[in-house]
Amino acid sequence: DQQVKQNSPSLSVQEGRISILNCDYTNSMFDYFLWYKKYPAEGPTFLISISSIKDKNEDGRFTVFLNKSAKHLSLHIVPSQPGDSAVYFCAANDSGANSGYALNFGKGTSLLVTP
């Protein structure tokens, strides 16, 4: 049962524009969310995270928004650059379940930023 869903397998955006990647989750016990970026032949790399006590976290060009009532989060990349082209994974954790570092991942969204 997929508890973290990324319903858009791919997204294409022009350089300089905003990229918006979406993620939905079903488990209301999730209280920490992360976005990872993955290039081919490399492992996922941490990008940005957000705790459930916040609704927004910003780091440079990357902003994550969390809507707990809708069980939805989104990653905004502004402005998008060709080097941002990669697969982006949304992941969630339930710290209360003594889950340690067990992350629940979505299937990923492949972002292509065109010049």
């Binding site: 492992g43 790399t45 941490f46 992941a91």
Partner: protein, 114 residues
């Protein structure tokens, strides 16, 4: 400073065989987690090792087992391989008690079962 390393890079095995994958954590890390990423899917948590013990386990059968050594490196063993075990196996290391965002992933081992 070497990051997380995994070996081998690629592996081809026959159904029914056994396989061992290896992971060396990032320097200073003491916890290792293993994930399976099937084609077109996100990584799925297999288990986590800390202080040479399995601390947490995901929804994987007993055919999947692991080990952590005193130097914190780890092995993932899969017995009685099935075609469905074909996947990218990712190792992630961290410092126990550190933030989730401080978990670093290796490049993975691509296992093909024929």
């Amino acid at each position: 400073d070497a990051g997380v390393t995994q070996s081998p890079t690629h592996l081809i095995k026959t159904r029914g065989q056994q396989v061992t994958l290896r992971c060396s954590p990032k320097s200073g890390h003491d916890t290792v987690s293993w994930y399976q990423q099937a084609l077109g899917q996100g990584p799925q948590f297999i288990f986590q090792y800390y202080e040479e013990e399995e601390r947490q386990r995901g929804n994987f059968p007993d055919r999947f087992s692991g080990h952590q050594f005193p130097n914190y490196s780890s092995e993932l063993n899969v017995n009685a391989l099935l075609l469905g075990d074909s996947a990218l196996y990712l190792c992630a290391s961290s410092l126990f008690g550190g933030g989730l965002y401080e978990q670093y992933f290796g490049p993975g081992t691509r296992l093909t079962v024929t």
